[in-house]
Amino acid sequence: MRQIIHVDMNAFYASCHQVTNPAWRGKPILVAGDPRKRHGIILTASYEARRCGVKTGIPVWQARRLCPQGIFVPPDHRLYQDFSAQILELLKGYTPLVEPYSIDEAWLDVTGSGRLFGSAQEIGRDLQKRIGSELGIPCSVGISANKFLAKMASERNKPCGFTELFPRDVPEKLWPLPVGEMVGVGRKLSPALTEMGVDTIGRLASLPVQLLVSRFGVIGEALHHLAHGRDDSPVDPTAMETVKSVGHSITLPKDINNPEDVARVLLDLSERVGRRLRQGCNLARTVTLTVKDQNFVSATRSRTLPEPTGLTEVIYQTTVGVYRQCFEPWRKIRLLGVSVSNLIPDDAGYQLSLWDNSGEKLISLSKTVDGIRDRYGDSALLRARLYNSKEKRGKLDGPVPETDGDLV
């Protein structure tokens, strides 16, 4: 039997701020976007704030009403990444098999670490204590024989929980839980399951696998196994590195529908996406545009290119083309997102062309620009079209998830 540990930081963003600013310890800290830029939702609330009823995702005005004494802090992603990297280093002291799942969660496979560090339980206690004492971040630990059960376990007791959930405990501990709390069942699957009369994980486990497959396809089969507590996916330290797509989106400071404004935002997003694509040494074959309009109706349209590209210009031209073709010009836009997928490694060299050398020139130009930005920072060079002193550029919502998020 494998020994898997899942570590989940509690109220991670808020905890990071409380560590760096001792005056905030023990106080209700609410990490939230700027309401003036319409990012006004709670990203994380410390446990002190949660006691007042504040939950992740509620608007700032509502949080103020629930928790008038709360301290509202803008997000600082550098800080979180810094802490995350330190935690990862600490975890790697126990085993090289550490798979980060997001900025504040990771799995460890400690099957082979017993002789050095003791049982999974001992390692779990130890790392929980050390993350708390050395970094000041509280975390919950789940211990099991596979990734799925370990994560289900760490979710059970927060904050600072320590939970074991082994396959033998599945009927007693896992099955009574509502199906919506199951890892891998998200906002879309949950209502679909409820519609089928599935309320608990136990009910899901009792359904014949054929029924789930006919309703959900491959995911159906995966759900069946998970509901029985079976998961043989390995702890893969490179899972976060194998990027499947690169994307950025932005909620605009105000709704826009002027084609020139839209094009400028798309250029900005394409530039960021292109840069990250090239940083990962990849080329992309598919470009996807996401648009959310003033009525919160969102739509996603993709286009696959005849030849894969790493160029900002090609990504930009494609998104503008998709926008013109698929979205009515009168729709006022609230959010725009650009992402690229269908990635292939850019180690193949560049096929020279007889007549059209613009591609080659653009590639060498991109390389030069990237080089300058690597050395002097992203703001060292700016496209003139994106230069506008009066209008402050909107802040990004942050990267769109890079890997397929679901455990299944």
């Binding site: 894969p308 060299g349 062309s353 007549w355």
Partner: protein, 367 residues
């Protein structure tokens, strides 16, 4: 219309026109096949407006007439059990009865009135007129057709450029990464000029005009190329695009020249292609004294091959797309392939030892 013809003969002629029937068309009559009989011969026509194919053959008739039948007619005739087929069309409603052996079909035909007119060469509209033997034209097409682009975003490169000069037809095709040029002798007098013909229509020309050494009569009228070979006619719409200047990109000076046996070279590159995956199917070819070393690598492993050759000039290493090399070597008819080099990141020319007129230029991959 009432006639009786051998099933195999009809099936063969229908197969010739089949590729010109559009799968789906806004104009329903185009989805059919036009049958016309004048009492002595039967003419079959299909067109998708880009490509038209017409074939006729003598068939004993009792009654002349015209009808458009659904394209299922091709498959129906192919599967008929008897040796001969009797076709009878009711002129008032175009109901068509097909009898063969024990089998009887009734097909709902359409009036031939709506069917587009097949392009004809009216003497005053003729731009170019030439004669070429079928074998030469097919050879020249095989040497060039594979090099066209399939990217609809580059329409000019989806065609083959025909340039008429006195008694010579020059063909050129390119996907911008490689260029194939060849020529064949034709009977042609008149002003020099060029047309651009869609490659997919030329594929049909290669298919339809059999291996025979018959003469092909060619005419360019307005935006159509009409080719007639015996009883078969092909009409292809021309591309209205500018093909870039070909002469300008062909190097005249070389840093080295190699000569290698086609078969071992082809086999070595094909083996290398098993491991040269990825976007550009890269193979690295090192050319030096007496040998050519071919290398490819992927996440699955590596391959190295050595092929003997004769070489004069400066040795070099060049990275090429294996598919580009294989395509050319497959149409090489001579025993030897001649490589002319101009530098590691510069064009490389491949030639077929027995076809001096054939030139294939490939651009390398820049690491």
């Amino acid at each position: 219309m009432r006639l009786s013809i051998p099933q195999s003969l009809l099936a063969e002629h229908l197969q010739a026109v089949a590729k010109a029937v559009p799968g789906k068309s806004a104009v329903s009559v185009l989805e059919g096949i036009l049958l016309e009989s004048n009492g002595e011969s039967l003419t079959i026509t299909a067109t998708n407006l880009e490509l038209g194919i017409r074939t006729s053959f003598s068939a004993a008739h009792e009654e002349p007439g015209k009808v458009v039948l659904p394209s299922k007619f091709i498959e129906i005739i192919r599967r008929l059990p008897g040796e001969s087929v009797q076709i009878c069309v009711h002129e008032e409603n175009f109901l068509t009865e097909i009898k063969s052996g024990q089998s009887e079909f009734q097909l709902y035909g359409l009036s031939a009135e709506e069917f587009p007119v097949f392009p004809e060469a009216t003497p005053d509209q003729i731009q170019f007129r030439f004669q070429v033997d079928a074998g030469s034209l097919k050879r020249a097409l095989k040497q060039t057709l594979f090099a066209v682009s399939h990217d609809e975003g580059k329409p000019a490169f989806t065609g083959v450029l025909f340039t008429f000069r006195e008694n010579t037809l020059f063909l050129a095709s390119s996907d911008t990464f490689r260029l194939a040029t060849t020529s064949c002798s034709i009977r042609f007098t008149g002003e020099e000029g060029s047309i651009l013909v869609p490659a997919k229509n030329l594929q049909e020309v290669v298919r339809i005009f059999g291996e025979d050494e018959k003469m092909i009569e060619g005419v360019v009228v307005q935006n159509q190329l009409l080719l007639t070979c015996g009883e078969k006619k092909v009409a292809s719409r021309l591309l209205d695009e500018n093909f870039p200047n070909v002469e300008r990109v062909i190097p005249k000076e070389f840093t080295g020249q190699a000569s290698v046996d086609v078969v071992p070279f082809l086999q070595a590159v094909e083996r290398a292609s098993l491991l040269s995956e990825g976007l550009n199917h890269i193979v690295r070819i090192s050319i030096g004294d007496g040998t050519m070393v071919i290398r490819a690598a992927s996440k699955y492993g590596k391959i190295q091959e050595t092929v003997a050759m004769q070489f004069e000039g400066d040795g070099l290493e060049i990275s090429l797309n294996t598919r580009f090399v294989i395509d050319m070597l497959k149409v090489c008819e001579g025993d030897q392939c001649i490589l002319k080099l101009t530098g590691p990141n510069k064009p490389c020319i491949l030639k077929d030892s027995i076809h001096e007129e054939y030139l294939y230029l490939v651009l390398p991959i820049k690491a």
